[in-house]
Symmetry: C2
Subunit: 522 residues, 2 copies
């Protein structure tokens, strides 16, 4: 998954719900009341009971080749930010689809890196869209292996892991899914569902052209029954987190600079001139400050909270279940945070995290930032600000309210430059795709914690809204280190390690496709 905005930004940890806000801020942040104390019970969904022994046997017999497939993918560089290996990786993916028997395989030209489209017509009743990203992040220093593109297998306390850029983000789980597809086709003759693959090579750039990849196929894709993004969602202990959506986001730069209104226009002036010369830096600070309460935690932009829709009964049940096992202290410790805002915890924290829009300074800079003292009145000041949007709060509306607020407070001299904006995406827990996913996870002893959505953001609205499909991103498996050194995916767990290995991951994907085929219609 990508880490920058206008992208697929999943928070490193998952959590989420509250009833009463606190003190003076309470009037402005909504205090959601829950109508039910019932809790969603993922264990109540029967474990998938189907057995597909031929495919399982094929998987077991072909583990060396399947591991080699993952290695082949990570060995092909595909750093989108550096245009390094992109076209070769697109060709490699397209070639793999062709080899699997996809009847249609096309490279999709875009203003950026090409997309890859594939269709496997199984003559089946049900159709699944599989999303893939074939690009990876650039490589940092400090890897424990000499070459992050060598496809190195490393033995450690978890067992055998594939350590490579892209191992878990996202080549590993994606090629594991195609290994499963191969296993079904070779052992059963065809797939239980028709399969679209839509892949982009710019996920790490914020998916700027993913709409253009989908565009030629929209009428067909909209006829599908669901969309799926293969992903390792188990942690080291084997615990699985299934998130049924994401928040939306707007990300923008806010900049003050001197002009007709005042301030230095082209360059800094001496700091002693402040009594005569307006300060763009103070203007920016005042403009940002006007948007939140003094503690920075309540957004004071009129209407901003009003657009957020209330938790549905289904979401309340999910949150009640999450709250029962929520461990705020552990999450805080992992993050290096000593308390949440206002000292909240438990369900209150879960609800805030899911239903509060945010306003956050990602970066701010102006003037002299080096050692010692320099006395200047800088001519410009800039901030990178993002706002996370729960379902109901649309990006256009958020931008409109922020602009109206700045106008009402006399900050028309500031420039607001949108970088990205997309809405939230959420899939209902009772959708057949979600139910099938949970039933398969249950089969493998990986009953997930299920959240209505993540506090993080990704443009998954492309599936839920553009295509109008239920969308699941998940799957058995464990990896770590996306966007960091020593990225890995676990392939062969050591004794006692409960996170799944590659063979079980592939079998679970076999099961998932069959479960979908057997599910009652949408």
């Amino acid at each position: 998954m990508g880490a920058t905005a206008g992208k697929w930004i999943l928070a490193p940890v998952l959590f989420l719900a509250s009833i009463a806000a606190t003190a003076a801020e309470a009037a402005k942040r909504p205090a959601w009341t829950f109508d039910t104390a019932e809790a969603f019970d993922a264990t109540a969904i029967p474990a998938y009971a189907g057995r597909h022994e031929a495919a399982y046997a094929y998987i077991d017999a072909h583990q060396p080749q399947h591991i080699a497939n993952l290695q082949r993918w990570v060995r092909q560089r595909s750093i989108s930010a550096q245009d390094d290996g992109i076209d070769d990786m697109a060709q490699l993916l397209a070639g793999d689809l062709t080899a699997l028997g996809f009847q249609e395989v096309e490279l999709v030209q875009t203003p950026g890196h090409p997309g890859v489209f594939g269709y496997y017509d199984a003559g089946a009743e049900k159709t699944l869209v599989v999303y893939m990203m074939y690009d990876v992040q650039p490589v940092e220093q400090n890897w424990q292996i000499s070459d992050p593109f060598a496809g190195t297998l490393v033995e450690n306390e978890l067992g055998t892991v594939l350590m490579a850029r892209g191992a878990t983000n996202q080549k590993g789980p994606q090629r594991a899914f195609l290994n499963a597809v191969e296993a079904i086709i070779r052992s059963e003759g065809t797939l239980p569902v028709n399969l679209y693959v839509v892949a982009e090579g710019e996920e790490e750039l914020g998916s700027p052209n993913f709409g253009a990849v989908l565009e030629p196929y929209l009428p067909r894709l909209r006829q599908a029954d669901g969309a799926f993004f293969p992903m390792n969602i188990q942690d080291r202990s084997g615990a699985a987190a299934l998130n049924l959506g994401v928040k939306g986001i707007i990300y923008f730069e806010l900049e003050a600079r001197g002009g007709d209104w005042g301030g230095p226009v082209d360059a800094e002036v001496h700091g002693s001139l402040k009594a005569l010369v307006d300060s763009p830096a103070l203007r920016l600070v005042q403009a940002i400050a006007s948007m939140t309460s003094a503690d920075g935690n309540t957004i004071e932009i009129p209407g901003y909270y009003d657009a957020v829709r209330a938790p549905t009964l289904d979401e309340q049940r999910l949150i009640n279940a999450l709250a029962a096992t929520q461990d705020d202290s552990a999450l805080q410790k992992a993050l290096g945070v000593r308390q949440w805002i206002d000292g909240i915890s438990g369900r209150q924290a879960l609800v805030r995290n899911l239903y509060d829009p945010t306003l956050n300074i990602n970066g701010i800079w102006s003037g002299y930032t080096g050692e010692g003292t320099k006395t200047i009145l800088p001519h410009k000041a800039t901030a990178k600000i993002d706002s996370r949007l729960p379902p109901g709060l649309e990006p256009d509306a958020a931008y409109r309210m922020i602009r109206a607020h700045l106008h009402a407070h006399g900050f028309d001299d500031l420039a607001l430059r949108p970088t990205s904006g997309y809405p939230a995406a959420a899939t209902q827990a009772d959708s057949p795709l979600v139910q099938a996913t949970i039933s398969v996870l249950n089969k493998y002893g990986a009953t997930p914690r299920v959240s209505p959505w993540l506090a993080g953001s990704a443009p998954f609205y492309q599936f839920t809204r553009t295509l109008g499909l239920p969308f699941v991103f998940g799957g058995l498996g464990h990896g770590s280190g996306a966007h960091a050194p020593n990225e890995y995916m676990l392939l062969r767990p050591a004794a006692g390690v409960r996170a799944a290995g590659l063979a079980d991951i592939e079998k679970s994907y076999v099961d998932l496709l069959h479960a979908l085929a057997a599910a009652r219609g949408e």
Copy 2:
């Protein structure tokens, strides 16, 4: 002069007064009323009439040697920030004083670079303290000459200039003053006044140890009749600006970082966590915003304006005179500013510039400041803030009020780290030293615009308060490029250029010492 705070920060341009403030802010910024419409008239001070022909003749006859003296000084590197040549320059200065006949010459050890103390006992009634700085700024790229330490003479449209680091800031005017001292001693046998020289090698570092240089000599220095800092105060056209003081300054870093109160403690967290995690960046922004009005121009720290003392009658007369020739448009154009705060001009602008304390962001930074988007909630945010202090507003009081304000607004979690702080300094226009200086300038056709003080800051309180002396920084002569490439001092003006050359500068210093000797006592 230095350019960093905790230092001698003179604004690049000079100006200064107002009566009515504007609109809603008026209640908070003081609206000074003037009690007189009289204007100070520098031309009414008779031009110095003394003639010291022997010294003048010596100066004329020794111009090659005197120019060589300036070259010798600038050729000796003395970059305090890089400890480059400092000790050699201190020795060179001390040696020159000894050669001139100073009976006492001492290197003064400090925790930093050494000071130089010298005393020339002329057996005279009057005594002058001459301040010198022997250090220079580091050297930038992009000089038009190959070596800023070669003492290069360059012919240009102004005439012959000495182009070198330190040429005008401050070796040129200082050695010109010593050339004048030499001329008097060699031609008249002794000086008309006793002379202390106190020099430091850390002016460009903010004069952190200048107090330690003065300390051993305080009882003696306090017996003097005035203190003087040789400086070229003519512009290219020959117009002279005499400033009788400086504002004080406090310069501090304000920093918010995660801690027990909330926020990430040791490192950034994912930006999507803002709904749960306090933002140090927003806290810093809110804290700074709380200190000013929404336009950034009125300081909302209780008591801040109350401490400023009202313009005296003498200052009102100076300001009335300045207002008569104030050209705001020209100053704005030079600065690249399209209007002053609130569209003020003329006397109103002069008064604001001189009597308003300021609060200015020199720099602010937090989080990601590179290209594109990165979604983080930074764990710390820092601003470099300065406040200029008119007479009456003391540094300790300013810090106390700011801390009290932050405390009252609940910002105790922020760290306030003072970098420097010193009070304003001002000398009365009717002091004999000022009168003598103006009379000499008048003699050379360089009648100055006289301001009560600069909006810029320098620790000249060491002279006016620590020593309790009238203090003048000024003198005939023109230079430019302090702290910049192609620094120069004009030595031999081309025909038609009215700024003084070295010979006249030296003669004017001869005159000044004699004028002081002849002045009625303090």
